[in-house]
């Protein structure tokens, strides 16, 4: 690891931490319906939206009504994205004259964007019209993120409220998340990205005459390059901020038009982690004890830092097979070095590894490098970050309410060990809460491992594998770890645009999203009904270094128990083979 590499990581994470408190406090005001400095501009639009939608924003919902509103809205979104893809050939804003997307692929993409996964089985520039990118994908980028944030607000209210039946109003939470948080941040980020060279135009693709002509693989002469452009910046900004991750182009944020400079790379990396990190402070503010939020953020940062160190080290390493060919892989001032297959020169190793750990930790799924070409242990880090259940930052909103499930388990186990009734923030944790937390945590490994197993024993599953040997197994495991945790990144050698992966993947994404959200909402409904138990000498404080360490241990133990055997068959075996030069 080079000094400059460490400095760049420090700048990124330091900048992030400076933004946590101001943004977190602002978001708390948004969810507690207090005045913000954006009110003079946005309050009239907010009320207009409620009027247009026939919504009464002060009407409170119990957890079941909240869940129904969320599900109905999300499933309508799936329908809209599906129909736009199927009909894009007959619709305007399609200068490249792209036809309808196949039904199974369109269904997968629809589920993918509505569930905040943004797994992409297609190359954007060759598949989707500008209209589909905007009306279907950019819209879902906003509302799927806002759905996660609304759920976070509702679940947090379950901890705050006493003897209450309701958790807030889904339409109000959705509208305020979009209007006050996501839109202003995206607008600022998008324009800044254009200044760096991200395109933002509705003009058709550009034809450029090549300086030196080239040939296709079949020997035809190529004298011109078609340069795909488009309204990219507006989509990249929200795909980073909303932990969406679906790129405008096939190469995602490795494409120079999505991420042209080291500065754009820094901003996009911070944007991945920004809202999930700041929501920890929002949570602390809403429960009236900011130490609780900082404690959760600290637990996230500890796990994040350890795995980041491993990833940077792994990707800086020399590929022993290349070394035999007299290839210079050292990291110097004039040379990024390391494992550069599938990486871009302008970013170098530290920035690339940082991005990868951030995007897999935060359930974003955008990439600035091709993960399939990572060293075995670099790829392992990306796998593990997802397999921990997307609770280390995680998706906007969903990461934090996923983390609540682990907090409940940590509090419960600690309570059992000392023989006290477990409590969290003054609420008694009883059988029902534990059942819901266990439901939320345990379904994920079942889906991921079950579908991976199905894929490796069927022809439909194995036919899509690209790389041979243990790495090929990692591709399948990666696909379902990503889909089953709503991440969206891929070992992209795997040909995922087949009926098997499209349908199995859509199932995994739906379960991952709603089988976490609904039990957590149910738990919040139960917690809201409880009275507040006064603190006593027997109460386990949940803001201390001891509890932070305990929470980290619970997350890592659950993750290791679930996935260590599968990891041994993929990246660990590959690492051992690489060590002996096979």
């Amino acid at each position: 690891m080079t000094t400059l590499g460490i400095a760049q990581i420090a700048i990124c994470l330091g900048g992030l931490l400076l933004l946590v408190k101001p943004l977190g406090a602002f978001m708390a005001a948004v969810y507690e319906d207090r005045r913000t400095w954006l009110d003079p501009i946005l309050r009239p639009s907010e009320h207009l939206i409620y009027r247009l939608c026939g919504v009464s924003p002060t009407e409170e919902m119990n957890w079941q009504t909240y869940a129904v509103a969320m599900l109905v809205f999300n499933f309508l979104g799936i329908g809209a994205v599906y129909l736009l893809q199927r009909g894009q050939g007959f619709l305007p804003l399609n200068p490249a004259e792209l036809g309808a997307v196949a039904p199974d692929g369109a269904y997968n993409t629809a589920v993918s964007f509505a569930t905040n996964t943004n797994w992409q089985n297609y190359g954007g520039e060759t598949t989707l019209s500008y209209l589909t990118q905007l009306l279907a994908l950019t819209t879902q980028n906003f509302v799927s993120a806002a759905t996660g944030m609304a759920m976070f607000a509702a679940i947090t209210r379950g901890l705050v409220r006493r003897n209450a039946q309701t958790l807030g109003n889904f339409w109000r939470d959705l509208t305020r998340s979009t209007l006050y948080i996501l839109l202003p941040l995206s607008l600022v980020l998008a324009v800044t990205l254009v200044s760096q060279g991200v395109t933002q135009t509705f003009a058709p693709n550009v034809m450029a005459r090549l300086v030196q002509a080239t040939q296709t693989t079949s020997g035809e002469l190529v004298t011109h390059q078609t340069i795909a452009v488009g309204p990219v910046a507006s989509q990249v900004a929200i795909k980073q901020l909303g932990t969406n991750g679906g790129g405008f182009f096939n190469a995602n944020s490795a494409h120079p038009f999505e991420n042209p400079t080291p500065l754009s790379n820094l901003l996009e990396t911070v944007a991945i982690l920004l809202i999930p990190a700041a929501l920890c402070y929002t949570f602390g503010k809403m429960v009236g004890d900011t130490r609780q939020g900082w404690a959760i953020l600290a637990a996230m940062l500890i796990i994040f830092s350890v795995f980041l160190g491993i990833a940077v080290w792994a990707e800086s390493a020399v590929n022993p097979i290349f070394a035999q060919l007299d290839i210079d892989q050292t990291l110097t001032d004039a040379h990024p070095g390391g494992n550069l297959e599938g990486k871009e020169v302008r970013f170098g190793i530290a920035n690339t590894a940082l991005w990868t750990v951030a995007t897999t930790a935060a359930s974003n799924g955008s990439v600035n490098s091709m993960l399939d070409s990572y060293m075995p242990l670099g790829g392992l880090v990306a796998l593990v970050m997802m397999q921990l259940g997307e609770v280390v930052f995680g998706g906007v909103g969903s990461g934090l309410y996923g983390m609540f499930a682990f907090v409940i388990v940590a509090v419960f186990i600690a309570g059992q060990m000392v023989g006290r009734t477990p409590e969290y923030l003054g609420k008694k944790i009883q059988v029902y809460e534990m059942q819901m937390a266990a439901l939320a945590i345990l379904i994920m490994p079942l889906v991921v491992l079950g579908l991976t197993a199905l894929a490796v024993v069927t022809d439909a599953g194995t036919a899509s594998i690209f790389n041979p040997g243990a790495h090929g197994f990692s591709e399948t495991l990666y696909a379902f770890s990503s889909l089953g945790n709503n991440n969206g990144s891929a070992f992209a050698g795997l040909n995922a645009n087949t009926p098997f992966y499209n349908l199995a993947g859509a199932l995994a994404m739906l379960i991952a999203r709603y089988w976490l959200a609904i039990p957590m909402l149910a738990m919040a409904g139960s917690l809201a009904r409880k009275k507040k138990t006064p603190e006593s000498a027997g109460t386990l404080p949940t803001h201390t270094p001891l509890f932070i360490g305990w929470l980290v241990a619970i997350i890592l133990i659950v993750g290791a128990l679930n996935f260590l055997p599968a990891l041994a068959l993929g990246p660990i075996i590959e690492h051992l083979l690489l060590g002996v030069g096979v």
């Binding site: 390059q225 182009f249 494409h255 290839i327």
Partner: protein
């Protein structure tokens, strides 16, 4: 349920209008006014014709040009309408064979050069469109290009320096050479 469905339909319509319509139009409007060149793709024109973008690499294979990163796009390298990486894993024999072939091509074009080859010259980029190579990779090719063009090595190094971008604020990213701009500068000197 029916009330929620009604609200959901209308909410989806309103959000589509705001997030899918007004927001990208607002960004486009601001971008076209403030950063028009970047918004259109940072294009390079010569004699009224577009000959590329400063951000998008082009394929070079002649010894008189600097070569960029290998590109895995199909069906030809640096296809800027189908960005892609190779996705080959680090132990894949196909990757080893490709790296070997690229190293051989570099050595065949410059048999006297016995230095180890910088890894960016033999590994394909993530996008297949990487416009940059490292300073070390440009230095490695300087003698070959100078010989092919009957230029002094010092002159070629001066052109490399002109096409080099250093780290942003002295910290961020890697020092890098824009291959297309360097080759255009070379063509302009003769």
């Amino acid at each position: 349920m029916v009330a929620q469905l009604n609200s959901a339909l209308r909410m989806l319509g309103v959000m589509t209008l705001i997030a899918g319509g007004l927001y990208p139009l607002a960004v486009t409007g601001i971008a076209q006014i403030t950063f028009a060149a970047q918004a259109h793709g940072s294009l390079i024109t010569a004699e009224g014709q577009i000959i590329g973008s400063t951000l998008i690499g082009q394929p070079f294979a002649a010894p008189k040009y600097f070569w960029g990163r290998p590109s895995a796009t199909a069906p030809f390298p640096y296809n800027a309408n189908a960005s892609a990486g190779s996705n080959l894993g680090p132990t894949n024999p196909a990757l080893i064979a490709q790296v070997q072939a690229r190293a051989q091509a570099l050595r065949a074009a410059d048999p006297d050069n016995r230095a180890p080859i910088p890894v960016d010259l033999v590994t394909s980029s993530a996008s297949g469109l990487d416009p940059h190579i490292s300073v070390a990779a440009a230095d490695y090719q300087a003698a070959r290009v100078a010989r092919e063009r009957r230029l002094s090595v010092a002159h070629v190094h001066a052109l490399i320096d002109q096409s080099t971008t250093s780290r942003t604020f002295g910290v961020l990213g890697e020092p890098r050479v824009n291959v297309l701009l360097l080759n255009l500068a070379l063509d302009a000197t003769q």
